[in-house]
Symmetry: C2
Subunit: 315 residues, 2 copies
């Protein structure tokens, strides 16, 4: 499938990242069976896209040792699966897995790049180019996306010049990515900043879609999501219950809360096709498997407003 078939320009696509980003730092890992159940139930609630795990050595990241099984579960559920790729070997494993999208990561700053992956930004872009070459040579041609981490502020160097992000974005599009993802990895952004960055970046990719990956570290995650939606961004990452912290921001909450993001989209007139009550019910799996992890979110706690009607899907 082409990128515009998977991510149509006229439809908001939400991506559940709890099964990867959400599990990056948790103390207890859900069983493979529980993960598959989580994916299947959330897919049944209407979620179209899932991060399935990370293609990393299982001895270092045991929580992702079962990534192949989750990739397969996404195929069975008929949803779009994404797998994280941090190096050449990961790209090769990812291609072999049959996952529908390889998600690469590049830091917006050299300092963070060295600290995170002991590699320059240019070397990280080379990994992306390698993934794109593998894609082009593969029979099934998965999408290749790239996330620019810390693009809205860096926990190691502070404010990030927009020109740095634009330069990296241009090189990533040249390397052949299908989707660009701007990440506020540590929750530094505000809505005016998100709007400005989206306006600056969105025309670089000759129609290739833009995604945002927002964290709610300082309470502005949903305000930033609204700003991105207002600027025409159609792909947004979030996790059920806001599961997931950040290794670069101690004490920080993680991703924006999926349930609240769905409510935001519906209230703004962007149909998601997601059944909010069914989505909230999937939190039970997380509570059971990871009882020590705090789950966030106002919608799940308070329920739908009286008379609330989701935006109808077109067609």
């Amino acid at each position: 499938m082409s990128v515009t078939e998977i991510y149509p320009a006229d439809r908001v696509m939400l991506r559940e990242v709890g099964l990867r980003d959400g599990l990056q730092m948790v103390r207890t890992h859900p069983s493979t069976r529980a993960k598959i159940n989580w994916l299947a139930r959330e897919a049944a609630a209407g979620m179209p896209c899932f991060e399935t795990g990370s293609f990393l050595p299982a001895h270092s990241f045991p929580q992702f040792a079962d990534v192949q099984e989750i990739v397969d579960a996404a195929h069975r559920a008929g949803v779009h699966g994404v797998g994280l790729v941090l190096n050449e070997r990961g790209a090769e494993t990812g291609i072999r897995s049959g996952v529908a999208e390889l998600a690469c990561v590049v830091s917006a700053t050299e300092t963070h790049s060295q600290a995170n992956v002991r590699r320059t930004v240019a070397d990280s872009i080379a990994v992306v180019a390698h993934a794109c070459a593998l894609r082009d040579a593969s029979p099934h041609k998965p999408l290749v996306s790239a996330t620019i981490g810390m693009s809205l502020g860096c926990s190691m160097t502070g404010p990030v010049p927009l020109s740095s992000v634009l330069s990296i974005a241009e090189r990533l599009f040249e390397a052949g990515i299908d989707v660009l993802n701007l990440a506020d990895t540590v929750g530094y952004a505000g809505p005016a900043q998100v709007s400005g960055m989206v306006r600056a970046v969105r025309n670089l990719g000759a129609g290739r879609p833009l995604a945002v990956h927002l964290h709610d570290t300082r309470g502005l995650g949903l305000a930033n999501a609204a700003a991105a939606l207002d600027q025409g961004v159609c792909i947004l990452d979030a996790s059920l219950g806001g599961l997931g912290g950040c290794p670069f921001a101690p004490r920080a909450t993680g991703n924006i809360v999926m349930e609240d993001l769905v409510f935001l989209c519906e209230k703004m007139g962007f149909a998601t096709g997601i059944d909010l009550a069914a989505l909230c019910a999937v939190r039970d799996i997380l509570k059971q498997e990871m009882p020590d992890e705090p789950l966030y979110g106002g919608f799940a706690r308070s329920g739908a407003p009286l008379g609330f009607a989701p935006t109808p899907l077109p067609g």
Copy 2:
């Protein structure tokens, strides 16, 4: 002072409502000494405006029995004090207290009006008119503001027609109010709805300022605040730590979190003049006085972004 001296059209004014709205439902009430300390320390952090309490019978609302002392503390701290008025007697007590602003409330729906104050909407508007008459006859001429509760959705009737809110707003301006406050009492709103309502209402008052009072019940409070700021609203209510629930929305969190709202304003380029670190430190008083009350907020937990610089105040 005139309304435009107190609420200049070119400056964001945040109002701490924790000492009234925040205390509406708490299990333990802070001592008068602690309230005065809270107000004084938050004023010293730069907060320009405080709800001081409610002019209601002390036997029914013991948490507001000391409202006169808090009004006096606001005067001593040189900040703008607001007192809640729900009936004629409250308006008279409020005028005598010397509080700088009488805040009246009108429900957006007849059903909620009857349930909340056993009075029609028209009778509530008559209370507002009475407060305005008392103001005009008084030597010190406090401001009179009116909040339209449930204006963005009603927990008893569901969606509220914009035309109902417009009609009530017109009658309130005719009654002589100085400030109109639109309240999303139960957290039903989304940012597009807030924008639309502000655009519809803001020209009714012939330059008299508009305020918004938002709750974070379903996670969209800060997104709604950003929408209001984008539409030129300069007066926003919030409470330290998001203190306060809602009698009409069981299990609901309360007001939007002041610390996160200040961060939002500063990130959007609206100077608040508030020292965020000093503001966060005031949470200690709430923790000590009300240990059972959950305090919310990302900024207080995570701290300022590296290199974060507040927007400079003009002049």
